[in-house]
C-alpha cells in the first residue's frame, strides 16, 4: 500500500448559517463578507504545516489540488504548495502527489508540464503527476471553458503534456485547441520516461476507458465513501479486465475521509461537528453545477440519466453518526478505523493507492495534527503491508520510493511537531 495525506485547504470558519444565507460555497460566495486575507494566510500555513507533519509522521505522500473561487478548498495553484512541500521534504522518502494542476485551465497547457518538471527536479524525482480534468465549477463556471470542449481540451492537453516531457527533438504541436510551433520543454523531469500519472475521476464511463488506454492510475475522489463507490469501481475493474490488463491494485486510487481518536466515543466528541461542517457547508453547491449541459459527453449523459450515480440521500439531512455508519467518513478508535479501511476500502475496492483526508472542514490545526498523528501511529503501519504478498509492482509511484517506507519513530515526531 501507498498511503498519502490529502488536503483541501478549506475555509475553517464559515458562519453557522452559511448554507442558508448563501447560494453556494463555490463560484459565488462573497469574499468580502466571508473571508479575511490575513486569516486566510494562516490557513495556507496551517495546511502546509499539516502536510509536512504528515510527511514526517511516515505517510508515503502528500497531496494538493486545484480549485477556484470557493471556500471548500482554495488552492488555485497547487504547484505553489507543491513547491514548498518539495523543498521541505527533501531527504524524506515522501512523494509529492499533485492531484493536481488542471490542464484545460492552464494556457498553454505545457505550463503544467513545465511546473511538474520543476517539482520533479526540486524533489529529486519524487513527483506523482496528477492530471485532473478539473471540476465543472472550476473549469466551466469560473474559468469560462465551454462545457462541451472541456474533455476535448483535456485530452489534447494530456497528449501534449506526455509528448512534451518525452520528446527528444523539438516538435511543433498543430492541435485543435493549442498551436505551438516550437515545443522544447525546459526543464525535463528526472523520472524517465515521465513521472507517474494519476487521473482523478468521478465515475464517468469514458474516463475509465481513457485511464486504462493511457495506462494511468484511476483515482476516485469520493466524499460518499467506499460503500457507494463499490459498483462504480467494479465497472472500472471490468474495463481493466476487458482491455486485457492485469488487476494490479495500484491501478486504482481512492480518497477516504478519516477521523481517528482513542475510542469511538472520543472520536465523535472530537470530530462530529467538523464532519457535519464539511458535508453541510463545504459541499453546498447547486447540483446542476456539477454537470452543466455539454460537460458530460452524450454516451455518459445517457448512461448517467438511465442509472444515476448520485446518492439518493441529501447529505444535508445526515448527521455525524449517519456519515460514519454509511462510510462517508471512517471514524472511531484505531481498531475500528483499521478494520473498516482494510475491508471496506482497500479490499472491497481493490485499491493500492489510498489517500486520506484528515483535516476535515472546520477542524482546527491542533486537532488536525492529532488526527494525523494518531493515524500515522495506530493505523498506517497495519495497512502498509497490504498487497505486498501478491507481488504487484506500483508502476504509478516514483521508482525510488517504491520500497515500503521505514516506520517513523515516536520521539522524532514530537520534535518535528515542536
Amino acid at each position: 500500500m501507498k498511503i498519502s495525506a490529502f488536503h483541501l485547504m478549506p475555509h475553517r470558519e464559515l458562519p453557522d448559517d452559511f448554507e442558508k444565507r448563501y447560494e453556494s460555497v463555490w463560484v459565488t460566495p462573497p469574499w468580502w463578507e466571508l473571508a479575511d486575507a490575513s486569516r486566510v494566510g494562516q490557513y495556507y500555513n496551517w495546511t502546509l504545516d499539516e502536510l509536512l507533519y504528515a510527511a514526517r509522521a511516515g505517510f508515503d505522500g502528500v497531496c494538493t489540488n486545484e480549485h477556484h473561487q470557493n471556500a471548500y478548498g482554495f488552492m488555485p495553484s497547487p504547484n505553489l504548495m507543491g513547491g514548498v512541500l518539495a523543498k521541505l521534504t527533501n531527504g524524506m522518502d515522501v512523494a509529492i502527489v499533485q492531484m493536481g494542476a488542471t490542464l484545460p485551465t492552464s494556457n498553454p497547457p505545457i505550463r503544467v508540464a513545465e511546473e511538474y518538471a520543476m517539482l520533479d527536479c526540486i524533489s529529486g524525482g519524487r513527483l506523482v503527476a496528477g492530471l485532473p480534468l478539473g471540476s465543472p465549477m472550476d473549469v466551466n463556471l469560473c474559468y469560462g471553458i465551454t462545457p462541451m470542449e472541456h474533455r476535448e481540451r483535456y485530452r489534447e492537453a494530456f497528449a501534449l503534456t506526455l509528448k512534451a516531457w518525452q520528446a527528444r527533438e523539438i516538435f511543433a504541436w498543430n492541435g485543435h485547441y493549442y498551436q505551438l510551433a516550437n515545443v522544447n520543454l525546459w526543464p525535463r523531469p528526472i523520472q524517465q520516461p515521465h513521472p507517474p500519472v494519476w487521473v482523478p475521476g468521478s465515475g464517468s464511463v469514458t474516463t475509465f476507458d481513457f485511464a486504462v488506454d493511457n495506462e494511468v492510475c484511476y483515482c476516485f475522489l469520493s466524499y460518499s465513501g467506499a460503500k457507494s463507490a463499490t459498483t462504480m469501481m467494479q465497472s472500472y475493474w471490468d474495463v481493466v479486465a476487458k482491455k486485457g490488463r492485469e488487476p494490479n491494485p495500484y491501478r486504482a486510487g481512492f480518497l477516504q475521509l478519516v477521523a481517528v481518536a482513542e475510542s469511538d466515543a472520543r472520536a465523535e466528541e472530537k470530530f462530529a461537528r467538523h464532519v457535519e461542517y464539511f458535508y453541510h457547508k463545504c459541499l453546498h453547491v447547486p447540483g446542476i453545477w456539477f454537470s452543466p449541459p455539454g460537460n458530460q459527453d452524450y454516451r455518459s449523459l445517457v448512461a448517467s440519466s438511465k442509472n444515476p450515480v448520485r446518492r439518493p440521500e441529501n447529505p444535508k439531512d445526515l448527521r455525524y453518526r449517519d456519515f460514519v455508519e454509511k462510510g462517508y467518513v471512517i471514524a472511531g478508535s484505531p481498531a475500528t478505523v483499521r478494520d473498516r479501511i482494510k475491508q471496506e476500502v482497500i479490499k472491497n475496492l481493490h485499491v493500492g493507492n489510498l489517500m486520506v483526508l484528515l483535516q476535515i472542514g472546520s477542524m482546527p490545526h491542533e486537532i488536525a495534527l492529532e488526527n494525523i498523528d494518531c493515524f500515522a501511529r495506530e493505523v498506517l503501519p497495519d495497512l502498509r503491508p497490504i498487497w505486498e504478498d501478491e507481488g504487484w509492482v506500483n508502476h504509478w509511484w516514483p521508482e525510488r520510493l517504491r520500497a515500503p517506507r521505514a516506520a517513523s519513530s515516536g520521539p522524532g515526531m514530537a520534535a518535528a511537531r515542536a
Binding site: T146, I288, P292, P293, G294, Y298, L301
Partner: protein, 258 residues
Amino acid sequence: MSERTIAVWQGKVRIRVFSKGSGPALVFFHGPWGLHWDPFLDELARTFTVYAPEHPGTTPDAPDDVYHLDGLWDLVLCYDELLTALGLESAAFLGHSFGGMVASELAAAYPDRARRLALIAPLGFWRDSERVVNWMMLEPARMRAQVFRDPEGEAARRMFGSADDPDARVRLMWAMGTTGKFIWPIPDKGLKKRVHRITAPTLIVWGKEDRLVPPVYADEFTQRIPIARVQVVDGAGHAPHLEQPAAVARMVADFLKS
C-alpha cells in the same frame, strides 16, 4: 409535415429538417432547448412553407456531429450549405433566442439570403448592467421559472418535457450543451461587429416579462439593424411564441409576408 435529414460539412454534420405548408419559404431556427413542432409553427405553415432544421448535435442518432464544428463561423457556413441543399436561394428567417442569434449571424454573413428577418428574444449582445441569465447554470425548476411567465403552463411542459422522463432529460441537456458550445460563457460572440451588414427588414419580438434576456436588449438590435422595429408581447416571458402562439404567429406572419 415531412422530414428529411441532410448531411453538410463534407457529410460530417447531419441535420434533420422538418417542413410543412406551402407558400414563400420561411426558415425557423430553434432556441437552446431543442426543436419542438408546435401550434405556432402550424399557424405559420398556413401562410409559408416552413423549414425547421435541428441545430447540429440535436438530431437523433447524430449527437456527436456537433464536434465537427469549432465555433460560430463554422455553424454559419453549415447553415449556408443547408440552405443550398434545400434549394433556397433566399428565405424569410425566423429565430428564437439562440436561434435568433443564428438567424442574425446568417443574415449578416449573407445579406442576400435573408428576405425578411423576425427575431424572437434573440441572443447576441451583452450589457453588464442587464446581464443575460445563464440558464445552463439553473436547476430545472428555476430554469422553467426564468424562461416562462407561467412555469406550470402547457408551453413550459411542451418545451421541457417531464422531469421524470430520462429520455426527455437527455434531449434537453444535450440540446443545451450543443447550442451552449457556441455561446458559453457569455452570449456575445461579436455580433455587434457584423450586425450592420443585415439589409433585410427586421421585426424584433420580445415577451414583456422576459426574465432571461431582459427586453431592453431589443434596443441593441433596433439601434444597429438599419431597418428594424420592435413588438412587445404581453403575458409572455422568454418564449412569447409558445405562451402567446396565436398573437405572435399573426404578427410574425403579417411582417414576413409583406
